[in-house]
Symmetry: C2
Subunit: 155 residues, 2 copies
């Protein structure tokens, strides 16, 4: 017997992702529903979890490209097992750990800075730019990558 499938509208209602976003992410390769003879999309129940993962990962600031990479580790052709999801969730956790560490580091430096109010480009540790893209997520790029010139006693 054929597996139970759901329509795009049903998937949208169950996950909270809009119909247009579901189609958008399909075009990006994150979803691959099969089609009816009339060309309508039909999703597996396991796609609910897949979309859930996408939403959570976005919530953590991952780009569609990154999510795509993470999802690539899921099996093709077979419904992912809990173990598959646990493995991919572990990747998420590593991202989270890194993001928390970065922010904590920044906060500690800021704590040291508040007293002096310096924000100095040459002394202030807040200019650690190395792991900038850790959690800030999608959107425009930032130009914080190059070393800055010296600062000679601003007002």
């Amino acid at each position: 017997m054929a597996p139970v499938t759901i329509t795009i509208g049903e998937l949208a209602a169950r996950t909270g992702m809009s119909v247009s976003a579901l189609r958008f992410h399909e075009a990006r390769g994150l979803l691959a529903p099969h089609r009816t003879s009339g060309n309508q999309r039909r999703y597996l129940r396991s796609d609910i979890r897949r979309v859930s993962f996408i939403l959570i990962a976005q919530n953590l600031g991952m780009s569609v490209a990154e999510i795509s990479t993470a999802l690539a580790s899921l099996p093709h052709g077979r419904t992912p097992t809990p173990a598959d999801w646990a493995a991919i969730s572990t990747q998420l956790k590593q991202r989270l750990d890194a993001a928390i560490a970065r922010l904590t580091r920044t906060r500690d430096v800021l704590d040291g800075c508040i007293g002096c109010g310096c924000l100095s480009l040459t002394h202030c540790g807040l200019y650690n730019r190395d792991d900038r893209a850790g959690i800030t997520g999608p959107g425009p790029r930032y130009a914080l990558g190059d070393p800055v010139a010296t600062e000679a006693g601003d007002a």
Copy 2:
């Protein structure tokens, strides 16, 4: 005597923010240099610190609009004092604290989820969407705001 001023190119060199970005942020109201008789921008030395703040705040995921609000608390007409900067830095710290708390919460829930691999929309705490925009920063909007339908035992 007139205060020492610097050109846009000098400010760019000192802060690491590109000339085009400096003009962009001026259009957004974050900077307000005066002009020479020949219509060229001239910045105060204290603008170096102002730009520094913008760069740091962006690094923390704040949008230009949010940064603008924060900077609005700085004095008009007089050069900001260290105390002014300290006050504004305290706002940054509050954002950081909130972001760290949010991510830590998410990680804790994820820790609980990895074992079961559920990612269930109805049981999984990862769907706490309340403070979603805390640190994810600028970019497209997300449609994670509305309650989702029930999920009846997916595959």
